[in-house]
Amino acid sequence: MAQINLVIVTPETTTLDADVDGVTVPLIDGSAGILAGHAPMIGRLGPGEVRTTNGSTTERYYVDGGFVQVEGNKISVLTGRSIPASEIDVAAAKAALAEAEQQEAGNADLAALKSKSIAQARAQIRMVESA
C-alpha cells in the first residue's frame, strides 16, 4: 500500500516523523481520514485523537487542537501538545475538566475559551476510556 509521510510537530519538539499507511485526524467538526495521494488541504484540528495505521498496527496520539496541512504526500500536524495515548493522565484531565467548568464565561471570547478547555479535558478522558 502506498504510504504517506506524517510529521507531528509541537513547539518543543517533533513528536513523530514516520511513513504510515493512513492517518485519522480530529478536525474541529469531526474526524477525517487521510491516505496517500490526498489533495492539498489545511484543516483546523479540535482536541482529540490522531490515529495512524501501518499494516495491522495502530498508534494513537492525543493532540490539543492545532492544524493539519496536507501537501505533496506529506501530512504536518501542528499542535500545542501531543502525547501518546498510553501516557494520558486521566486524573489530571478530570481535575482540568472540573476546573474548566468553574471558569467564568462573561463574554463570547471567554465562553469560547471555556468550552475549549472543557473539550480538551473531555477528549483526553474519552480517549482513555474508549481504549
Binding site: 509541537t10 513547539p11 517533533t14 492539498p40 489545511i42 492544524f67 463574554n107
Partner: protein, 297 residues
C-alpha cells in the same frame, strides 16, 4: 615583603575557585547546547505556522483578527520581564531589570494602569529592592521552559485581552542573535500588529476561484481564528526560549572570564610568592654566614 606561607594559602584558595568557575562554565556550555536545540525545534514549528498563514493570505483571505488591531484606547497594560532564577551570569539579570524598570516608567507615563509581571528569582528580588510592585511572579521557568507552562500564561493574557482589562502587553527579555551577540530588547506582543506571512501577495488565479491551492476545512476564516492566538503563544514561547539560551551564554562567558581572571591572579601570586620565598632564603643564608664569620673572628 608578604609572608610566603600566607601567599601560598591565597593561591590555593584561588585555585579552588578556579576549579568551580571552570566547572560552571562547562555546565553552562552543556545547558546552552540543550537550550539551543529546543529553540531550533521551535523554529521548525514557527516555520510551518508561517507557511499556513502565507497560504491563507495567498488564497485572498484578508488577515484580520481582534488580536491584530490596536484598541481605540489603551487603558491597561502589562509588562513582562524575563530574568533568570540564578545569578553568576554577568550582566544578564541586571540589564533585564534595568531596561524593565525604564520601560515601566515609560508605560506608566502613557497608560493609566500598568501592571508588572516578572519571571525569575533574580528579577523578583531586583524589583523588590527597587520598591516596585509586581502583580505576578513566575519562578517555575529554568533553562528548559515548557510550552504547556508558557501557554498557561499566554491564555491568561488572552483572557484578559478578551475581557478588555488588558490592551497592551510588552515583554522585556534578552534576545539571542548568536553566541557572540545577545541583545536586551523590549517587544510589544499584544496587539500583535501583524503576523509573519500575512503580507504574501494574493494569487489572482486562486482568489478568483479558478484553481484551489488548498481545501480549507472547515473554512479559511475558521483557521485564521485559530492561527492568530497560536502565533501569539508561539511568539511568547520564543521569548522564553531566547531568554533561556541567552542566560546560558551569558553564564558561559562570565564563567570563562572568571576562570581567566583566576589564572592571571595565580600567575601574579606565584611570582610574588617565589620572590618572597627567595628573599627569605637569602636572609637565612646571610644569617648563617654572619654567624660563621663571627665565630672565625
Amino acid at each position: 615583603m608578604a609572608n610566603a606561607r600566607a601567599l601560598d594559602k591565597r593561591r590555593k584558595s584561588i585555585r579552588n575557585i578556579k576549579k568551580i568557575t571552570r566547572t560552571m562554565e562547562l555546565i553552562a556550555t552543556a545547558r546552552f547546547k540543550k537550550a539551543m536545540d529546543r529553540a531550533t525545534s521551535a523554529n521548525d514549528y514557527t516555520k510551518r505556522i508561517t507557511a499556513v498563514v502565507s497560504d491563507l493570505a495567498r488564497a485572498g483571505l484578508e488577515v484580520s483578527h481582534p488580536l491584530l488591531e490596536a484598541p481605540d484606547v489603551t487603558k491597561g497594560a502589562t509588562l513582562l520581564v524575563l530574568t533568570g532564577n540564578r545569578g553568576l551570569c554577568g550582566g544578564y539579570n541586571g540589564n533585564a531589570i534595568r531596561l524593565g524598570a525604564k520601560t515601566l516608567e515609560l508605560l506608566k507615563s502613557e497608560i493609566e494602569t500598568v501592571t508588572l509581571d516578572v519571571s525569575g528569582k533574580r528579577g523578583v528580588s531586583g524589583f523588590k529592592f527597587r520598591d516596585i510592585e509586581m502583580a505576578e511572579n513566575y519562578l517555575q521557568f529554568d533553562d528548559e521552559p515548557l510550552f504547556a507552562e508558557v501557554e498557561e500564561i499566554a491564555e491568561r493574557y488572552l483572557r484578559e485581552y478578551a475581557a478588555g482589562t488588558l490592551n497592551r502587553l510588552d515583554v522585556t527579555y534578552t534576545k539571542f542573535h548568536s553566541v557572540a551577540k545577545q541583545e536586551i530588547v523590549n517587544e510589544t506582543l499584544l496587539p500583535l500588529g501583524s503576523i509573519e506571512g500575512a503580507d504574501t501577495p494574493v494569487d489572482p488565479e486562486v482568489a478568483a476561484g479558478n484553481t484551489a491551492l488548498y481545501e480549507f476545512v472547515p473554512s479559511a476564516e475558521s483557521i485564521l481564528e485559530e492561527v492568530v492566538p497560536t502565533s501569539f503563544k508561539i511568539k511568547l514561547f520564543k521569548c522564553f526560549l531566547d531568554a533561556a539560551v541567552s542566560e546560558q551564554v551569558a553564564r558561559m562567558i562570565a564563567m570563562k572570564s572568571a576562570t581567566e581572571a583566576a589564572n592571571d591572579m595565580i600567575k601574579d601570586l606565584s611570582r610574588t610568592y617565589n620572590r618572597a620565598r627567595q628573599s627569605q632564603i637569602t636572609g637565612e643564608i646571610m644569617e648563617v654566614i654572619g654567624g660563621v664569620e663571627a665565630l672565625e673572628g
